[in-house]
Structure formats: structure tokens, C-alpha cells
């Protein structure tokens, strides 16, 4: 797949769901294309539909109508178990609250997705070690999550996301639970994954700092993508808020 070819094609997607007596219109006839090897941010206020879009792209959720095609696979056609299999092979997931298994070491947490592969135990261990080296935590691989800082835990989570060498990495507010210094380190690391390994990364974020690291930012509001003019205004507002954000120290990833 060439760098200019679209890895993700979201075509006329609508997603409605029921919450109690109310029907929520999370996405409304949304169309979006994300090229291979791009680092893309999905931005917007709470309830704008960005997390729903991320769930659809990563095969966690299904659209009410429209098509989601990722790496040539139309996700609508897959059953729940097929989707799980597909996610295991093609998607690396990063969450806001890290969500590591507290009773497993960093290395074991990273190796978890490899349980779904045919790799031998030795190969799994080697892969996990490599992934931890990429995120700069090789020397802490036998530590348990409770003994790691928030930033380190998120880096373990990133290593877990890349250990299977997926086509796509999706991150749901990966800096949302981190201080400014660690947030920049994580964004830097994600950028490095894109530039060094050619990974396609889609990230939901409220963090205006993210604009400095991504190739594209798509702004959503009330379930629709904003047009260029509205997006520019939103971007300017974010940049302005970045200017008023507290200064951050330079961080080595």
C-alpha cells in the first residue's frame, strides 16, 4: 500500500444509538479518508462524535448506515468474532487511562496481544522486549504498572499497541490523564512511530499541543465534520489556547 493511498475510508457513515429513552445521533452522514502513514487528530468538543468515529474506524463499533473500509476490508461485513480477529491483526489501541493489567509486568502486558498469534513463547518475549525498547522502557520491563509513573504506563500501553506491528494505531485521548511534560513525550513518541515505522495513527484529543505533532486535524461538531472555514476557526481557537497554556519543558522520548 503506497503512502498516498487511503488506509481508511469512511463513507456516508451514520451512527445512532439509544441511551435510555433518547436516540443519540452521534455521527450524521460523515465521509472521511485518511491516507496511509498519516498522523491524524480528531478534535472537537465533548459529544461531537469523535470517539464514536474512532470506534468505527478501529472495528469496535458498527455504523447504523454507510461503510467503513480499513486496509481494504469493509468492516460492516464482519461478525463480532471476525472483528475481534481483525482488530488483533490490524489495529493497535491506546486508551486515556492506560488500562494495563495490574497483576502483569510491563513485559507481560505488552505481550498480551501476542497471545492471539501463533508466535512461540520466545518470539513473544523478544517482540515484547523490542516494543518496550522502542518506547524507551526496556530497563523497566519487569516492573508492574503500580511501580510506573503515568507517562511510563502510557508508554507501556503504546508498546502493547505496536507489538503486533499493526497497520493502524488508534489512540483515544492518550494524553488526557498526563501532565504537560509527559503529554508532549507521548505525542513525540507517536510522531516517531509515524515517521520511523510508517504507521497510520488516528488520535482523538482535546489537547491543542497535538496540532504541532499531527499531519492533519479533523474537527467534528454534533456528529459532522466541520468545513475548512469552520475548521480553521476551531484550529485558531485551539492554537490561541495553546498560547495561554502553561509552558512545558523539553522532553526526551
Amino acid at each position: 500500500m503506497s503512502a498516498t493511498e487511503a488506509l481508511i475510508d469512511v463513507r456516508n457513515v451514520t451512527r445512532h444509538y439509544q441511551r435510555g429513552p433518547d436516540e443519540i445521533h452521534a455521527l450524521d452522514d460523515l465521509t472521511l479518508s485518511i491516507p496511509t502513514g498519516h498522523f491524524v487528530a480528531l478534535m472537537g468538543p465533548s459529544g461531537s462524535g469523535k470517539s464514536t468515529l474512532l470506534n468505527l474506524i478501529s472495528g469496535i463499533d458498527r455504523p447504523s448506515s454507510g461503510d467503513v473500509v480499513v486496509a481494504g476490508q469493509t468492516l460492516n461485513d464482519l461478525s463480532e468474532d471476525e472483528l475481534a480477529k481483525w482488530r488483533a491483526r490490524h489495529v493497535g489501541l491506546i486508551f486515556q487511562f492506560f488500562n494495563l493489567i495490574p497483576v502483569l509486568s510491563a513485559r507481560e502486558n505488552v505481550a498480551l496481544p501476542l497471545l492471539l498469534t501463533d508466535l512461540s513463547k520466545a518470539e513473544q518475549g523478544e517482540r515484547a522486549r523490542t516494543a518496550l525498547r522502542v518506547v524507551g522502557l526496556e530497563d523497566r520491563m519487569d516492573h508492574f504498572p503500580a511501580t510506573l509513573s503515568g507517562g511510563e504506563q502510557q508508554r507501556v500501553a503504546i508498546a502493547r499497541a505496536v507489538v503486533t506491528d499493526p497497520d493502524l494505531i488508534v489512540a483515544d485521548e492518550p494524553t488526557g490523564d498526563l501532565d504537560a511534560r509527559n503529554a508532549e513525550a507521548i505525542l513525540d513518541l507517536l510522531r516517531a512511530l509515524k515517521t520511523s515505522f510508517g504507521k497510520t495513527i488516528v488520535m482523538v484529543t482535546h489537547d491543542p499541543r497535538a496540532l504541532r505533532f499531527v499531519d492533519d486535524a479533523h474537527h467534528l461538531d454534533k456528529g459532522v465534520l466541520l468545513d475548512d472555514e469552520a475548521a480553521a476557526r476551531a484550529s485558531e481557537a485551539l492554537q490561541a489556547s495553546l498560547g495561554s497554556a502553561p509552558p512545558t519543558e523539553a522532553v526526551e522520548s
Partner: protein, 387 residues
Amino acid sequence: MSYTRLVIANLLRNKLRTAFTGGAITLAVVLVCLLLTMPAALDRLLENAASDVRISVHHKAGLVYSMPESFTRKVRAVDGVEAAVGMVWYGGAFEESGKVTFPNFAVEAEHLGAVYPDYPIEPEQLADFVRYRDGAIVGRQTMDKYDWDLGDRIALTSTIWPVNLDFRIVGVIEDPQAPSLWFSREYLDQALEAQLGEGLGVVGTIWVRAAAPELVGPIMQTVDEMSRNSEAETASETEKSFFTNFFGSLQGFVQIILVVTGLVTLCIIFIAANTASMNVRERSGEIAVLKAIGFARRSIFGALFGEAVLVSTLAGVLGLGLAIGLTTYLRSFANGGGLGPMSGFVLTGPVLVQGLFLSLFIGMLAGVVPSVGAARKPVVEALREIF
């Protein structure tokens, strides 16, 4: 990394909770195994104790009522009867507490050997029993319990008769589960004569040995016919039937305990199921993430179900070990004379298998509902609950 490591790590997450859950299952397995040995032990006891040619003749109204002494002679004259011996309960207490701790009977010494030729008693000892008026034959269980030896003299205080007798041990029933003490009826008869001016004159139970198994039925019928319309109508029964009735109340007790144990087991299933549900609920976030990164429903179910089954099986194995230890201890204690029929209680292979299956069953039943629930929940719903 392996599924086994994942399951074990999760079990060790809350060690105290796992220990308590396992402890409850262990206790259930120990209880059930111990109780399952009781009916089998009683059956075995009856098989070992009962002869197919021995008959018990006693008062129709019950064992506490007596029959005229002369009736023994009449029974002895019935066609097909090879030998008959009359017995009278002495109710002698050896210990200072005055409790009767082993059965003891006055018997017709000269007829005893002919009724019990299958009992392991040396012929010379039987001869001594007839020869010495104060001689006693004692079961090995009681001999060991009180550390008696052949030739020892012992004194028993009767709880029934107004005489206290002392005996010389002249013979031993060499069966580790035999508790009885037999002594000469003549000895008690003479002591009562001296004390009260009149002898025994009655018999409590007459044990009859038929010449052949097929004669048992006709003999019982004839004996009961002989006593009909007398003051002491008899009820004859086979030795097996006698012991079955004797232990009947114990069997009823066993059944009650089995019902209670079943209920306790049910409670433990609920407790284990509740614990499994709590485990799943507390880890809903982790389970959602596992699903999101590609773990299929079957894998999630397997890991959670495996936890419940593993803890219950390990607890079951521990329970079996404890049950084996306990029954071994009970047997050694019983052989010392403490538990009588319980000395036959052995944890057999089938009981062990049943115990193991019980623990598996508890684990499966406790684990299946929360595991299915967690596995079936759509990933997006699971994630929405935690984020």
C-alpha cells in the same frame, strides 16, 4: 506469556478472597467426602459382620424385653438348628465415669463356639472360656483400647444388675473391629442367686446357627410359631437384618446429614458464584480492553471460566487430601475403641472421584454465568461503561 499465566495472575490478584473462596470449597468437599463414606462403610460393616446362616431371636416388642431362659432349649431342638446361644446384656462399665464403652454380654459358654465358628478365636481359648467360670473373651478393639492382655483381671460395674463382677481374660476375638466382651452366663446367674436369692431365669437374645442357608427361613418361621400367643412372642431375623435395624437410626442420621450437606454445598456454590461475579465486575475495564485489542468471546470466557474452575479444582484436591487424612485419623482413633462402626470408614476411589467432580461442578456452576455475561457483552458497550 500464556493463558495459564494470565489466569494464575488474576487468581493471585486478591489472595485473601481466593483463599476464602477456596477454603469454602475445600470444606464442602471434606464434608461431602466424609459423609459419602458413611453409607458405604455401614454396608461394608454389615457384609463383614453378618453370616448367612445366623439368626437373631428376640422379643417381638424389642431388644430391651427378655424371653424365658427355657426358650433357648426349645429353639435348639428345632429342625435344622445346628447351635444356639442365649445372651443377656450385662451393661458393665469399666471406666470410673460409669459409662458403658463397649458391649458386654453373659453367654452360654459351652454353646458360643458352635454359633460363632467363623469368629477368629483360638480353640484353646474357647476351651478355657468353658473351663473358667469367671473367664471372658474380649474383642481386639477393646483389648487395644484399654491395653489389656490375656490373663489380665478386670472388673466391670453393671448398670443393669445389682452385682459387680470381675473377670479373667481367657480369650480374644482377633478382629481389630470387634468390641464385645463375653462372659459365662453361669457366673452372672450364681452372683444374682447369691445377691437376690434367685438367678437370671431370662434371656435377651438367642443367636442361632442354621445348618444351611436355605434352612434360615423355615427356622425363623418355626421359632416365631413356637412363641405365638405366649407372653414373650418372638421376632426372628437374619443377622444382616438385625444389624441393619440396629444401625437404622444411624442411616437415618446419615441421610439427614447428606441433605444438610447438599444445602451447604448449594450455599457454597452461591458464595463462589458471587465471588466470581465480583471478580468480573471489578475487572470490567480490563475485560473491555482485552476485547478491544482482539480477544474473542471464547478467549474471554475461557480465561474467566478457567479461573473459577482452577480455584475450585485446587481447593477440591486439597479437600480430598484433608478428607483422606481425617478418615485415616478417624480409623486409627476408632481402632482404639472410640468410634465403633466408624472404624470401617475408608475413603474409596469412587468417593474420591465424586469429591473431585463436586469441586469441578462448583467451579463450573459458579463461573459459567459471570463468564458468559462478560464474554457476551459487546465490546463497545463494555468500553462505554468504563470511559
